[in-house]
Symmetry: C3
Subunit: 429 residues, 3 copies
């Protein structure tokens, strides 16, 4: 990587910033997408879990704790993580949206930032302004299977059917009750379940859903389950029953096939590993897992596109190689613990070196509030621009125009094709 490419990198960053973003995975609530207070930013689990990991007691995270005091508390811990990418997303937001001029926001800035946040986020046109400044074309949500999907513009906030509850918690009477309420059907047998899932898919598709999605533990290996076995599992459902989880999962893949929906697989998370952790700061992973566990699935459903994310960067070559061989496997973004500049750089270089650019969806924000889309994508674009400059344009493999075209596929085009979005629009503004 070479400094003399700096002007080229700079030019590419400028070009890349002009590409509208299709953000193919987030947790932004469609009905309440933007932050209202500084607490909506600093309450992001990246800050609460890192502060806790540095020693912050969890008391201030109680629901009834004064939010402004909580921000002061968390700001006091940020000084311990000034080196992290996660911290830099927050600094970027402070500079970009909150008028912060200093280098590092500290406790001393807490009240000013609080006021600035109230002011900025309280502007009547804030959501619209944010879309424009982020250059966002559309953003995918994470919707519970029983989400009514009302109250937001589904051509900007794209519904996505999240199915973890169905696959891993259908033994839970509450989940079964929710399913019954949402579909009018009790999942008492494989046949009933299939009908219920069909109704969910129909509801989601009527509301412009563009993907089914799930996060999966490292030990999960999909496979077909016979109707009889699934009947049995549904009749006396117990937690952790493999027939239940595998049976429901396989049926979801069948529904994706029937309804032409891509199935996002986010592979590798162990839930609640750190029992004493903060909300959403308890999950980790286990590197003893392989994408080969999904071979039966990829073979059985050639008509379903599987955008696949992995949690462990050391699994990236498996992902690249599977996307290289399987027509229906797409390398999808840089997930969670692997969403860190040095890991993204390594994984993205390996993907760009080996996998046709049409098989790569570059990035998604995974954001909980729209404000985080901008700094996260800025981080990604800087890495992408550097790799394109150093590995492709400088050595003469691609022209600058071709490099921008590749970036455009990764940031927008491939998502539009794979998720069957309109070729352009609605776009910002």
């Amino acid at each position: 990587m070479a400094t003399s490419n700096q002007p080229l990198i700079h030019r590419l960053e400028g070009e890349l910033a002009r590409i509208p973003l299709v953000d193919s995975h987030s947790h932004v609530p469609g009905t309440d997408p933007t932050a209202h207070t500084l607490d909506d930013l600093l309450g992001y689990h990246y800050y609460t879990e890192l502060a806790h990991s540095c020693g912050m007691p969890k008391d201030c995270l109680a629901r009834d704790h004064d939010p402004q005091a909580r921000c002061r508390e968390i700001l006091g811990w940020l000084g311990h993580m000034k080196n992290t990418a996660q911290y830099n997303w927050f600094v970027h937001i402070c500079h970009e949206f909150l008028g912060f001029q200093g280098k590092h926001p500290t406790v001393a800035d807490a009240d000013a930032l609080w006021q600035a946040a109230r002011h900025t986020f309280g502007r009547p046109d804030w959501e619209k302004e944010l879309w424009c400044r982020t250059n966002l074309a559309c953003i995918f949500l994470t919707n519970d299977f029983d989400d009514p999907l009302t109250g937001f513009n589904t051509s900007r906030y794209i519904p996505c059917l999240r199915t973890d509850d169905l696959v891993f918690h259908l033994h839970d009477p509450l989940v079964r009750a929710r399913l019954a309420r949402a579909t009018g059907l009790e999942p008492k047998s494989a046949g009933h379940l299939r009908q219920a899932l069909s109704r969910l898919f129909e509801h989601f598709l009527r509301n412009n859903a563009r993907a089914c999605a799930i996060s999966l533990p490292p030990g999960f290996t999909p496979g077909a389950v016979s109707a009889a076995d699934l009947d049995r599992a549904l009749a006396s459902p117990v937690p952790g029953c493999p027939d239940l989880a595998r049976g429901v999962f396989w049926m979801l893949a069948e529904c994706c096939q029937d309804h032409g929906l891509p199935f996002d697989l986010m592979i590798g998370v162990n839930r609640k590993v750190y029992a004493g952790g903060v909300f959403q700061g308890q999950d980790l992973f286990d590197r003893r897992t392989s994408l080969v566990q999904y071979a039966a699935l990829f073979n059985a459903f050639p008509g379903v596109t599987f955008p696949v994310s992995v949690l462990d960067g050391a699994q990236n070559q498996e992902l690249a190689s599977h996307a290289w061989i399987f027509p229906n496997v797409i390398a999808h973004g840089h997930w969670w613990y692997a969403n860190v500049p040095s890991i993204i750089e390594r994984d993205l270089r390996d993907r760009l070196n080996a996998v046709p650019s049409v098989k790569l969806v570059g990035y998604y924000s995974d954001a909980y509030k729209l404000e985080f889309v901008l700094p996260k994508y800025a981080m990604y674009r800087a890495i992408l621009a550097r790799i394109l400059a150093n590995d492709f344009v400088a050595p003469g493999v691609l022209t600058e125009t071709e490099a921008v075209a590749v970036a455009s596929q990764l940031l927008e085009g491939n998502s539009r094709r794979i998720f069957r979005l309109p070729a352009s629009g609605p776009g910002p503004g």
Copy 2:
């Protein structure tokens, strides 16, 4: 990595290009080593599988499909993979051998490339010219155990006894019949098998073979099998019988010891993972594997040299550490899915940082036609030159002359020593 080292890198690339190449693993057919048509290039599985992965139906790959039309079809898909190293090998060939002047070969160039290929590859001295331009000293083949090894110059095209069929398919009557035909012996017992294998080794050694080789699945763990157990396994052979595979494998290692032949282990491939894939485009890997599985083998055969390749770059540190500790383990090239610039760069740096240079065989082409040796080695040499410049010469660890000497070991010298080739020659032209 620093631009200011560019002149140094350039000088090193020039020096490295002068080193004759010992290509220690390929699939080039000794009796038909060069391409005849453009189809021999674009039919390489890297292009067919990547085009298929991008969406190309397999129809055009049928044996009876018009080869020129097939080239047109594949060329039409190459635009989707302009970012990949695999594509760049082809572009390099077009520029170097086919007089192509453009930046990217497209469907519009198909007929001109077809004619250029016929013309170039039809030259009576093409094979000789190619050896010279590639600066090739010799190239290892992949020979079936029943290959007659006739019809080619075995001091240039070095026979290599490939043993996958023996280890993993000896349950197959066809394989047993081939073995019986080749050796005059039915492998009905451990004793008979040993005699049969000895005859194979003698045949291969008489014909200048320099290695025994095998590719192995991630789950394979070598170990001694008693004669009684192997007898039983041979008497009623069933697919996947561990005693059979392990017994034959162990006996091959004994033969290598008896006959002084290195045993190339290519570790990690799962065959036919993508059942619907193109020919040779169905195999993948599983990262849940470790070189420690081979400890018993490495300990039991101190007199056998094991050049080891791994399929997953994330296993590279295991390979480097085993080559660091075991006198008979050699880190061997960058195999298949790991044969990609960014992965080679990482793996090679780690090897050069930790493993004595005498324990490294730098690269092999894995080519199916001689034309691919040049672009693949050019890619490797560029990476090697950059690492030697940035990590060794620029910081003053090695002089430029010493760095070239290290490169010479990796490209030629170590292979000559390990595979007991003459110290020089036959070399090109």
Copy 3:
């Protein structure tokens, strides 16, 4: 990484060299910390094992072999590993301490180096001089559980209770006898064992011990063992009994909690993999292991700090992510096969990108003689300076002063806090 940052990197290296070093893990003997002869340097297992791996027979390593002849022999093999980091530590020592002026020490230099070593290491103030030149504040030892801990200054040479023998060899009558001798107690039951361990901890704490430490095989998964099961295991101890190893380990964690001692976990080593290897050159690893195996431990002992080292760089993201989530997990140094510049660079970048700097103990020497602390830390500081310059200061994430502060945490401050050392001193000189 960019050349134009070279002046910045150079400045940072100067700043970093001024930070006193807390070397949190070594095998330096407190009573005999420095080398006396060249043999004490070249006898380091890195050289004997690499020379053996290159082909050196083990004869010269016999105890009664003439040490000067041994040095000649080993020096003769070093030429094969001029590319390695391990070799460069030795060259650094030759230049820095032995007045060697050449580029590469060869057999021809053997006698001169031998004499120079005798002269230098024989100086009456050599130990003191070495502390100063190394800028060492204190160094942790590796003490057997029955070490009397006398004969050295425990505020410089910090005792550390090494517990491998207790956890993995308590079936061995010799180890039980040593424990009985050291504590006056036979470990016949869980109760007795607890008392015995308490006495060990008290003895170590009286002598300024600052850590309990252990190396662990890849397959080990800690968990609580009932007193009854541990009683049974202690009553009829057999090698490899899981209840014994897990029971003792868990009790050690309880002792760490009771006595406020951090528990260093060095995870991943398989012992005696290469049976024919040189002393300390027989161990390797198995990448089929995960830090998730330690979840129960990390959860059960929130009051115990666990500085964790991993042997396989490909496990580094697991380590970074666990340190990111668990308050009591610290990413600790770069161990053994991962203590190589290119691997350190990758792992350190990933840690600095994702983990708060307070959760990182940057480096330890793992040295067997004090002379190696300097070259090993010089290697680490060069990498750290380059990463801080390229990834943090140049892009404006941290100021130069802040970057030095981060380095200071990694080299000194975090160790002082985590291991409860005085805020400064004793320091060199």
